[in-house]
């Protein structure tokens, strides 16, 4: 029998059944392809139909970038978690809960805003850890466990402000945040001098009259966008380049196989639940700082929007496969379509039709590509 194979170290002949794959094809066959094609299609569409609506001037770009960045922040968390093989349906409720927590601590208790923010982050990440702990301990589907938290957290978010303040919207956070050192990290703007300069050379519009005459219409990049880009970059590098990233893929690809070779699957999954909670909390904090208020109905349905962006981005619903860049592009598609239809003056209910079509189209393309890459049948 031993002569059936080649001797150790011998180089077997080149396999005649392996077709040479062209560089172009190789560059194209990637998990994000569906999202890349979708993004290009969406931009072409709006260039064609809404170019003169102001969608692509400085203010317009800022508008859809901000909305896309919001989607991106929660999509990054959902993407990492989905690749690790789990879902979090409590993201939307967590957003409402976190915002209300900041409001109650800073406005009702009158504590400094930075303490309110840090406390809220600690609380939300702890709830994320609890979600994860219950999932790995009981072996229940995360779908069910986090569905329970969807209701629990939303319930508290409505109950506490009503109990304490007799209302479900709490304002005055902007006043409380005045002079706070941490609040601008979420609600501030950066790069104002670039826009001053752009305004002065006439590259972007400036106010013609009023108290702000001569100032550029866009006076900085919101921290929200910086957070989104930073989260995407960090998550992408961790997922694709680090040991931990390999464990995330392994935990979602086949938890049992990963355990056999010593991957700490439970720890990885719990950490991903905590990361998702962190992302939801970043979203909530930015939103609260922007509006200056917290509302009990904030974040409704956000979990599904995050999951849709992730799926458009090429991730596999059952875990083990996906891309953060893809999810970010999915979020961009989401934001551009939502705001673009508004700019184009299209009836806003058509947003859903458009989104459904893109979702279907991207997912079909993704499934096809994934089969080529992974040999799935």
């Amino acid at each position: 029998m031993s002569d059936a194979g080649q001797g150790a170290g011998a180089v077997p002949a080149k396999d005649e059944r392996v077709k040479e794959i062209s560089g172009l094809r190789k560059a194209l066959i990637r998990p994000e392809l569906g999202a890349i094609v979708g993004t290009i299609a969406v931009f072409i569409f709006f260039f064609a139909f809404a170019a003169d609506s102001g969608m692509f001037n400085a203010q317009g770009i800022l508008n859809w970038s901000t909305v896309s960045a919001q989607f991106m922040i929660i999509a990054v968390g959902a993407c990492m978690l989905m690749i690790a093989g789990e879902f979090d349906l409590s993201v939307g409720s967590m957003i409402g809960f976190a915002g209300m927590s900041i409001a109650l601590v800073s406005v009702t208790l009158q504590w400094p805003v930075w303490i309110a923010i840090l406390l809220t982050f600690a609380l939300c990440i702890a709830i994320g850890a609890l979600n994860g702990f219950i999932v790995v301990r009981t072996g229940l589907p995360s779908f069910i466990v986090t569905l329970a938290f969807l209701f629990i957290l939303r319930g508290f978010t409505i109950f506490f402000p009503q109990l304490i303040e007799r209302q479900t919207i709490i304002g005055g956070i902007d006043d409380a945040a005045e002079g706070d050192w941490l609040a601008p990290v979420f609600g501030g703007k950066v790069g104002g001098w670039i826009f001053d300069w752009l305004g002065s050379i006439g590259a972007i519009g400036v106010f013609e009259r009023g108290t702000r005459a001569g100032e550029p219409i866009v006076d900085g990049i919101p921290m929200l966008i910086i957070w989104a880009l930073a989260l995407v970059a960090v998550a992408h590098v961790i997922l694709t380049r680090t040991q931990f990233g390999n464990w995330v893929f392994a935990a979602g690809g086949d938890a049992q196989a990963a355990r056999y070779v010593g991957v700490p699957v439970n720890r990885v999954k719990i950490l991903m639940f905590m990361f998702t909670a962190f992302c939801a909390c970043v979203f909530a904090t930015c939103q609260v700082m922007e509006f200056g208020s917290a509302g009990a109905d904030r974040g409704l349905l956000k979990e599904f929007e995050a999951i849709i962006a992730v799926v458009i981005g090429g991730a596999l619903l059952t875990g083990g496969y996906g891309s953060v860049i893809g999810a970010a592009l999915g979020a961009l598609i989401f934001g551009v379509v939502q705001q673009g239809l508004f700019f184009a003056g299209v009836e806003s209910s058509l947003f859903r039709v458009f989104l459904g079509v893109i979702l279907l189209f991207a997912v079909i393309l993704n499934t096809y590509i994934r089969r080529i890459i992974t040999g799935e049948r």
């Binding site: 029998m1 059936a4 392996v18 380049r241 040991q243 056999y260 010593g262 992974t374 040999g375």
Partner: protein
């Protein structure tokens, strides 16, 4: 047979394993020496998988002891057993089809480059070693990024075996590596087993195919309903006797008439 000049690497004594009311193993003794291929045979449900899972730290034996290089061992996890040098290629492979060959090969033991607190995976080294180790086993990969799902069954087995050998296994446990393979791929895997054995690694080869066992085995132990029916050495047993032993004796004799000795 040179293998018998050595002491066993792993010795399992009177192992019992109960799952609640189910007695999966009822006093099984077994050992494996460096450079030998010890085949573990038995029908479906005989307890083969349960037995090797006990050996590799997945299950704790209800009773009995495990000696590794003469010392009593108490593996708390598969990781412990792996670190001691017991590597297992499971029936269900422990490979993730969606992930690349390199990612699978290094899973759990990634080569890292530290930058501050972050452990980056050293893909250059990882890819090179993977390609080289697969080449040694006679498989030319298209690319180390290729997903395991695109490999054939035999190639996947080979990745799993190459991985175990590379990480310094002293004992390699193979749970039915040939059960889903065609003739050629089976021959390749058997050749790989032979190659690995010659490097001085002890192999536990589980199968219910007598011909595959006889092709590479040095010793044969037959399990039946959680008990050993005995151990035989190469040359001391005919294929027919082994076949009979596996089926528990009588039944097959009766069957043989109607099938004309084709089993």
């Amino acid at each position: 047979m040179t293998a018998f000049d050595h002491d066993p690497i792993v010795e399992m004594k009177d192992i019992e394993k109960h799952f609640g009311p189910v007695i999966a193993l009822n006093g099984v003794s077994f050992d494996v020496r460096p450079g030998e291929c010890h085949c573990l045979l038995g029908d479906n449900g005989a307890g083969k998988s349960t037995f090797i899972k006990t050996m590799s730290g997945v299950h704790k034996p209800t009773k009995g002891e495990i000696l590794f290089e003469g010392k009593r061992m108490d593996f708390a996890s598969p990781r412990d057993a792996m670190e001691a040098g017991i590597a297992t290629v499971y029936q269900d492979l422990a490979m993730i089809p969606l992930m690349s060959v390199t990612r699978n090969f290094w899973m759990g033991r990634e080569p890292v480059r530290r930058v501050g607190p972050i452990k980056f995976m050293d893909f250059k080294t990882a890819n090179e070693v993977t390609m080289e180790e697969m080449r040694k086993m006679g498989i030319n990969l298209r690319s180390p990024d290729q997903a395991v799902g695109t490999l054939s069954g035999g190639e996947r087995q080979t990745v799993a075996i190459a991985r175990a050998v590379y990480f310094g296994a002293k004992v390699l446990i193979l749970d039915e590596p040939t059960s889903a393979l065609g003739v050629r791929q089976t021959a390749n895997v058997l050749a790989t087993i032979d190659k690995v054995r010659k490097t001085g690694i002890g192999i536990v080869f589980i199968t219910h195919n007598v011909r595959h066992a006889l092709a590479v085995g040095d010793r044969f132990t037959v399990l039946n309903r959680g008990k050993t029916l005995g151990t035989a050495q190469r040359g001391q047993i005919t294929p027919e006797e082994l076949q009979d032993l596996m089926a528990g004796g009588q039944e097959l004799v009766a069957l043989e008439g109607s099938l004309g000795g084709t089993v």
